[in-house]
Amino acid sequence: MTQTPSMTDATIAANTAEPGASLWHDAWLRLRKNKLAVFGGGALIVITLFCLVGPWFSPYTYEQQDFAQYAKAPSAKHWFGTDKLGRDQMTRLMHGGRISLGVGICATLVSLTIGVLYGAMAGFFGGKTDAAMMRIVDILYALPFTVFVILLMVVFGQKIVLLFVAIGAVEWLTMARIVRGQVQSLRKQEFIEAALALGLSQRRIILRHMIPNVLGPVAVYTTLTIPAVMLLEAFLSFLGLGVQPPMSSWGTMIKDGAELMEEFPWLLMIPAAFFSLTLFSLNFLGDGLRDALDVRTSKD
């Protein structure tokens, strides 16, 4: 549950790479040399552990109110202060992190798997198949997102899992387009022709030859998707479609904090700092991953 993007990519690896998986081993060696990426990965691990394990050691729960401790600044008793209902902000931050990171990972995984496979297929087969598949994407693009989510909630009830699905179902569209474009240009490369001439099946060509070649842009877009997904979650929660009080997520905490930032700045600053740190780390890691996955960038 720690290195978000590398975990998501690892799922593709499971599909594409066979024993040996040399591409991934090499990528790992190169990634380790990249200081920023290592920092990003490390920070993500720490934040994730903090959110996962933290609540067990906290003397408070996320919903426990203490009006005597109304909106207190950080202190020895409440390290990150309390909100205006006297709830311990650190505990809420940990719980919120679980939701935010969870949404980020799950929705990104969904979008990654569907998007990469769908895009690769459309790009590879081309012609009418491609046209039909991409028109479906266009139609889904045109659906107003909020309406789509409300519909899901109405039909299936309000569950957090649905939130993951809903966001994932929207985010894969862009991924599919990116991958399709990449695959289309790869399709005309001679090595794909050579692979066909060697008698490889289309399935094998897509999984073994196409997808590893598009991993660079995919890795970058994935690390951009995770923060986008976290923001979407905040937006949905704001509309009352996502996380419901007293549960918290980073998005809702930032939103609540923003309303009170003049009187109680820590309510905004602390969740915002965590959110930003996560996004920075993801970007560093994504950048590092892209370089690490490009076998031509470094010679060792």
């Binding site: 040399s22 001679e190 030859h209 590893p212």
Partner: protein, 325 residues
């Protein structure tokens, strides 16, 4: 029975600007162990002929309109995709023009090299790697056991072409199609690659179709030559007679335009005009508009017919005995 017999192959591309007749009624055959050269200028349909046989033409826009390509009793043009995959890469292998782009940059040479073995012969990976190292040694790559772990970008162009050849030959095919394999390489490397293919052919007794526009290479390597022009074979025969006694006016002009054979300082001979636009239908000889011997009769239909000099020529006037050397 010939190893491969192609009859009346027509491959058209249906584009927005009309139907491009890239290959228009090509027939030829090749025996086991033989080397056939296909020469012609760019766009004459050399590559498309071979791609069509292997089912590598993108469809659409391409379409194989007619023809047969009987390889060892199987018609490649009517074979099911799964059936074709069993032949492609196993019994018929292909090497491409540009070794820089023919290898997947994201895969180690090892993984690409043994892929045909893994899918066609279903042997263990460990054994396949051993065979891969052996194959690299056979094509003259030193320190193969270590080099096999490299990525394509760590090889030079000539070395990559060697890798491609090793990959094509690893399943011991009966037929190797070489699509201008030396065009992208410099001359010394060219010679090495040609020697390599010759040697491999001698060792394994496979047939080779060598596509090229380099007449010198073809003359030194092939037993038979097809000269293509505008999607048709205009002359076909044993190498010696194709080069020594060219009959078809196009082939004559080709031989005349080899720079090395012209006196120093003389203006180089060129064939006036441009190859015809094959998207416009025409009857008769495609070379007629550029031909110095063209007459009214050249507008009529013409077929490849064997003549007395040992080669077949698609020129009405040669067939009528009107054009003597």
């Amino acid at each position: 029975m010939p190893l491969l017999e192609v009859k009346n192959l027509r491959t058209y591309f249906h584009t927005r600007n009309g139907v491009v007749r890239a290959v228009d009624g090509v027939s030829f055959e090749i025996e086991k162990g033989q080397t056939l050269g296909i020469v012609g200028e760019s766009g004459s349909g050399k590559s498309v002929t071979c791609y069509s046989m292997l089912g590598l033409i993108p469809q659409p826009p391409g379409r194989i309109e007619s023809g047969e390509a009987i390889f060892d009793g199987v018609d490649l043009l009517k074979a099911k995709p799964a059936e074709l995959r069993q032949i492609r890469g196993k019994r018929i292998a292909m090497i491409f023009q540009d070794p820089m782009t023919s290898l997947n940059p994201y895969m180690r040479v090892e993984d690409q090299l043994i892929e045909p073995l893994l899918i066609h012969q279903k042997i263990e990976r460990k054994r396949a790697v051993e065979l891969g190292v052996q194959a690299l040694q056979d094509v003259g790559i030193q320190d193969a056991a270590n080099r096999i772990r490299s990525y394509p970008h760590e090889f030079s162009g000539g070395m990559r072409q060697r890798v491609m050849i090793a990959m094509a030959l690893i399943t011991k095919p009966d037929l190797l199609i070489a699509d201008e394999p030396t065009t992208a390489l410099d001359v010394t490397v060219q010679a090495q690659i040609i020697e390599l293919v010759k040697r491999m052919q001698a060792e394994r007794g496979m047939a080779v179709i060598w596509i090229s526009h380099d007449l010198g290479v073809v003359a030194g390597l092939c037993q038979r030559v097809n000269v293509m022009y505008a999607g048709r074979v205009v002359e076909s025969g044993p190498t010696a007679s194709i080069f020594r006694t060219p009959q078809h006016p196009y082939n004559r002009a080709l031989q005349k335009s080899i720079p090395a054979l012209q006196p120093k300082g003389a203006e180089l001979y060129t064939i006036a005009g441009m190859p015809p636009d094959v998207s416009k239908p025409f009857v008769g000889c495609p070379f007629a508009p550029r031909c110095e011997f063209a007459q009214e009769v050249c507008r009529g239909p013409v077929e490849l017919k064997p003549g007395d000099s040992g080669q077949a020529t698609a020129c009405v006037r040669v067939q009528n005995g009107e054009l003597k050397l």
